[in-house]
């Protein structure tokens, strides 16, 4: 139990009075990859975005219930933390990577400039190490001052993960990070995530069951705003009709 990092209690979310998340309770554990699967519209992305409150960019959203974040052995309600601090601690990578209109190097420098007071060399060191971590360094090392928008989709996604990692989050949320990528890039990112889980908690939404199988420590299956099944082996041994249907589809 000590390893719980994010705890969700009685969480409900509605858009314009339409319930999208219906009374969910769940705990995410440190150093684990939790995969959330489910048909589109089941609320899996909403759940993910609620955890770092990025769901609140939309003004029509109402949430109730608690999400607790572990902090020095205590749990703290995320609604008591300022949004900025929360989003630094719980980073998110979305389906479509958005690079900032700077050079590759400056894109990565951006969070460092904001959060740290390191000197130039130290910053550079950090940027290079994170680039190596996402296996981008070899591809771009000669083009660091080139405009980041010219990168390929897979490179951009890795750049965005790298940028998020530089904020040194405790929890990393990923919303179908590989859905738009080719297999090679998918492999790279999957490998990266498996390696990252030693440092941080990872929660990933995916529609790709194979990917979930590959990454999982736990899998959650959601349907109609509820968690129907969860566990390690739910794909091999689906119990509910909904999951069976989903897997057969």
């Amino acid at each position: 139990m000590n390893n719980v990092n994010v705890k969700i209690e009685n969480l409900s979310v509605s858009y314009d009075d339409k319930k999208v998340i219906d009374n969910i309770n769940y705990s995410f554990y440190r150093n684990e990859i939790t995969c959330i699967i489910g048909a589109s519209g089941c609320g899996k992305t909403t759940l993910l975005k609620t955890i770092n409150r990025s769901i609140e960019y939309d003004e029509n959203v109402k949430t109730s219930g608690n999400i607790l974040l572990e902090e020095n052995g205590h749990f703290k309600n995320i609604y008591d933390i300022s949004e900025e601090v929360l989003r630094k601690r719980v980073g998110i990578v979305s389906q479509n990577p958005v690079v900032f209109p700077f050079s590759i190097y400056k894109n990565l420098l951006y969070p460092l400039d904001y959060y740290t007071k390191l000197n130039k060399e130290e910053k550079k060191e950090k940027v290079i190490s994170v680039l190596k971590k996402v296996e981008l360094y070899d591809e771009v090392k000669d083009n660091l001052d080139k405009y980041a928008d010219n990168l390929s989709g897979g490179q951009k996604q890795r750049l965005c993960i790298a940028r998020t990692l530089l904020t040194e989050p405790e929890v990393l949320l990923l919303d179908e990070p590989c859905s738009a990528l080719d297999i090679k890039n998918q492999d790279v990112i999957e490998k990266l995530l498996l390696q990252l889980k030693n440092e941080i908690t990872i929660i990933i939404v995916t529609h790709n069951i194979k990917e979930a199988e590959k990454l999982k420590d736990k899998i959650i299956f959601m349907d109609a705003g509820k968690i129907i099944e969860d566990g390690v082996d739910i794909i091999k041994n689906p119990k509910s009709v909904a999951l069976k249907d989903f897997l057969n589809y």
Binding site: E83, E84, R87, K88, S94, V98, Y114, C160, R163, T164
Partner: protein
């Protein structure tokens, strides 16, 4: 039967559209026609760069130099766009990033209201409220180029804000969420991403607003002091538009004075046109 109707409909539409689009041609044609006879009395270079304006003869030599008016026009509009730049950027940022959709609607309604407030009222307002302040500060009569610039600023704001908001909305949609997801403060994002990215469109909308500013007549005329001298920030000046408004009513038809005022109008028109075209070409390249 309906084929004919379709044809009639299309033709009516086409003719009226062509009429609309050709207004500009007429405008140029007639203004230039009325302006041309001036150059029997005076050389183009003397007209543009001459500094003396004495269009009515009391036995003295006629002089038609509009250089100071061109400078006055440029000066006043320059002040207006500098202030306008700061204010409109501020307000456009506020509208885009600090207001929800409902409040945005209200603010846009207020902007439309500002652009509909008669310019005489703005002039009157400047004359009654700002002019005494300048007078106390030691400006003769209180009316000056700076005051005209300030009044003009309020008048061009709606226009500038509208075009800036369009840019800001686009950039907000593109970058705000991605950057906020890094936990970065909204105003830091604005300062580091939104503003640098929109510099170009800020500049373009400023130059376009400059066109508006140069053409504004009544409000400026009421507070700029109207002296035919080299314009100074806290001194008087006169703009081309206010020159025309002041003297057109008194110019006798087909007198040199009359033609000179038309020529001044043509200069004003060409100034706005050239600026407009340059902005368009630059703007098109960026797309």
């Amino acid at each position: 039967m309906t084929d004919i109707k379709e044809k009639i409909f299309k033709n009516i539409i086409q003719v009226l559209m062509v009429l609309t689009l050709s207004i500009l041609v007429f405008l140029f044609y007639f203004l230039i026609r009325e302006a041309m006879p001036l150059f029997d009395y005076c050389k183009i270079s003397d007209f543009l760069f001459g500094t003396e304006w004495m269009p009515v003869s009391f036995g003295n030599e006629l002089k038609f130099g509009i250089w100071y008016f061109i400078l006055g026009t440029t000066y006043v509009s320059f002040i207006a766009i500098i202030f306008g730049l700061i204010f409109s950027t501020g307000i456009a940022l506020f509208i885009t990033f600090s207001l929800n959709e409902k409040l945005q609607k209200y603010i846009f309604a207020i902007l439309d209201l500002i652009s509909a407030i008669p310019s005489v009222v703005f002039g009157f307002f400047g004359l009654q409220v700002f002019s005494p302040i300048f007078f106390k500060m030691g400006v003769k009569t209180g009316n000056c180029v700076l005051l005209a610039g300030i009044v003009l600023t309020i008048m061009i704001l709606p226009f500038m804000i509208n075009s800036l908001c369009m840019t800001f909305f686009k950039l907000k949609k593109k970058y705000l969420i991605a950057a906020s997801n890094l936990g970065i403060d909204k105003w830091y994002i604005i300062a580091s991403i939104i503003i640098p990215e929109s510099i170009k469109s800020i500049v373009l909308s400023t130059i376009l607003a400059n066109c508006r500013a140069m053409g504004e007549t009544m409000a400026v005329m009421m507070v700029v002091g109207n002296a035919k001298v080299f314009p100074h920030l806290l001194g008087k000046g006169e703009t081309i538009a206010s020159l025309i408004a002041l003297e057109m009513g008194t110019a006798i038809k087909n007198s040199p004075h009359y033609h000179a005022l038309y020529a001044a109008g043509v200069v004003l028109l060409i100034l706005t046109f050239v600026i407009n075209q340059v902005v368009r070409i630059i703007g098109r390249d960026s797309e």
